[in-house]
Amino acid sequence: METLGHLLYGFSVAFQPENLLLVFIGCLLGTLIGVLPGVGPVASIAILLPLTFKISPVGAVIMLAGIYYGAQYGGSTTSVLLNVPGELSAVVTTFDGYQMALKGRAGPALGIAAFGSFIAGTLSVVGLMVLAQPLSQFALRFGPPEYSSVIILALTFISYFSKRSVVKAYMMGCVGFILSNVGLDPVNAFQRLMFGQYNLAEGLNIAPIAIGLFGISEVIANLEKTVSREIIKTKVRNLFPTKLDWIRAKWAILRGTIMGFFLGTLPGCGPVLTSFLSYGVEKRMSKTPKEFGQGAIEGVAGPESANNAGATGAFIPLLTLGIPPSATLALIFGALILHGVAPGPFLIQQHPDLFWGVVSSMYLGNLMLLVLNLPLIPLWVQVLKVPAAFLYPVIILFCLVGCYSINNNMLDVYIMTIFGVLGYLLRKFEYDLPPLVLAFVLGGLLEANVRQSLLLSDGDFSIFFSRPISLTVFILAFLLVVLSIVPFFKRVKRYGENV
C-alpha cells in the first residue's frame, strides 16, 4: 500500500508538463539513436549530458533514462530491415528478424519486438519498484569496507564480461582509476596530476572524457568505413503478430524478461549479453531449434524482451547502491553528481521525487515507445536514408559545442579532443572503453572508502575480510579474477610450448 502511495506521488512528478515532455524527448531520441547504426546510447548520452545541466535533476535523469531504454526499442528496426543492428544489443535480432523480413514477415518481427519490449520494460519497472527499497535498506548497513568490496566487484564483473581481452579490460580499469586521481587530494588538498592547471583542482569532468571517448571516436570510427545501408524492399504491414506468433513467443518474452532483469543488475552484464543469453536459452528450449536462424519468432521475442528488461534492471545498483553497472549508467551517475545528487542508499529517502518520478516515468516511457515504434516504423525507415556524410559532421559540432557549454571554458574542449584521439586509438588497439569510464566514475569513491577503512583499522587489512558482507563480496571478486585470468595463462603456456 505504501509502495502504491509512492508510485502515485511518482506519477504526480512524471506527469508535470516539463517531465512529460522530457520523457517524450528521451524516448524519441532513444529510438532515433537505436535506429541509426553507429551512434550508441553511451555516445548519445555523453553528447546530450551538457544539455541536461539547464534542467532539473529529475528531468535530466528522466530524459537520459528514456534515451537508454528507448535505444533498446529502436535497435530492432535496423536489425530486421537492414540486417544491421542499430544497437549492439540488437545484434541477435538480426539472426531471425532479418530472415523473417526476407520471408515477407517484417511486420510481425517488428511487432513482436515492440510488444515484447513493452511487456519486458513494464514488468521490469515493477521489479525495480519492488526491489529497490529493500535493497537500499540493506545497503544502509554498508560501511567503507563493504563499499570498497562492492566497487571492486563491480569493476571485476565489467572486466570479466569484457568483449575482448580481460587483461586489457583490467588495464583500462587502472587507467580510469588514475584519471580519477587528477585534482586535489580529498584528505589533505595535495595537488595530483594537475600539471599547473588550476581549473583541474576539482578533478576531470566526466562529460568531456565520455564525449571524447564515445562521441568523437565513435563518429570517426564510423566515418573511416563506408557501410552500405540497403533496406530490403518489403512492405512493412501486419505489425500485429498472429495468434500463433503469440503462442510461440509468450514464454520467450517471459523468460527473456526474468533473465534480462536479474542479469541486467550485474555490472558488465548489460543488454548485449542478456540478449545473447536469451537467444541461447530459447534455442535450447525450443522443440524446433533448427528453425533458429531461419526466422523463428522466439529468436526475436526473447532477446528483444531481455535487452529491455536488462536496461531497466541496470538502474537497481545505481539507484540503491550508487554503483553504476555499465558505461551508460556511469554517465547517468555523472549527471546526478553534477546536479548535486549523490546516488546511493539514501537516494530514495533524500530525493523521493527523483526516484519515484524516474520509476513512474519509465511506465509512461514504455507506453510512449510502443506508440512511437509501431505506427512510426515507416518514418524510422526514412530516417535511415539520412546520409552519414551529413549526420556525422553535425554530431562532431554538437560534441564540441556541448563540451564547451559545460563550464563555458576551452579546457573541457581540449580535454575532449585529447580523449577523442585516445578513444579512437584504443578502439584500434582493441581496448574496451567501458571499464575505463566505470573506474573513472568509481575511482574517487573507492579511494575514499579504502583510505577510510585503513584509517579505521589503523592500517590492518583484515578489516576487509572480517566483515561478512565485504568478505563474501571479496571472495566473489577473487573468484571472478581467477576465472578470467586462468584461461589467459593457459593460452600463454600453450603458446609458450609452441615457441
Partner: protein, 154 residues
Amino acid sequence: MRCLMERDIISGFFWLAFAVFIGSRAVSYGVGSFSRPAAGSFLFVTSILLGGLSLLLIISALLRKTNKVRSSEIWKGLDRKIVVGVFVAIIIYDLLLPILGYLLTSFSLMMTLFCMTRKKVLSTIPYALLTTVLSYLLFEVFLGVPFPKGLFGF
C-alpha cells in the same frame, strides 16, 4: 623485427611507460603508510597494477605464435585521410574558436567536414550555414551559453 610491430607489444610498452611515469609522480606526492595512506598511495598501487598488466600483455604477445596483428594491419582498408583530416580540423577549431568567435569558426569547421565527407563544395554551403545558425540559436539564444565572440565580435 616483425614481432616488434605487433599491436599488443606497442600498446603494452606505451602503458608500461605510462605506469612508470604515474608511479614516479605518486612517489613524489608521498605514499604514506598503511595506517596513514598519503596522497600518492592509491596512484602508486594502481600504477604497479597497470605496469604488471602491461608486462603480462607484452609477454603474452611475444609468446604468441598465431593471430598476430601487426600495427600496420589496423589501418588496412580504412580511409586514413578522413580520420587524420577530421582530427586536424577539430584541433584547428579548438585553437581558433577563442580567436575568431563561434559563428565563423563553426561555419568553417562544418564546411571542412562536409567537404571531406560529401566532396561537393558548393552544395555544402547551405548545410554548413544552417547547422551553424541552428546550433547558435539552440546553445547561445535558447540555453544561454556565452560563446567566445572573437576578433570580429560575433
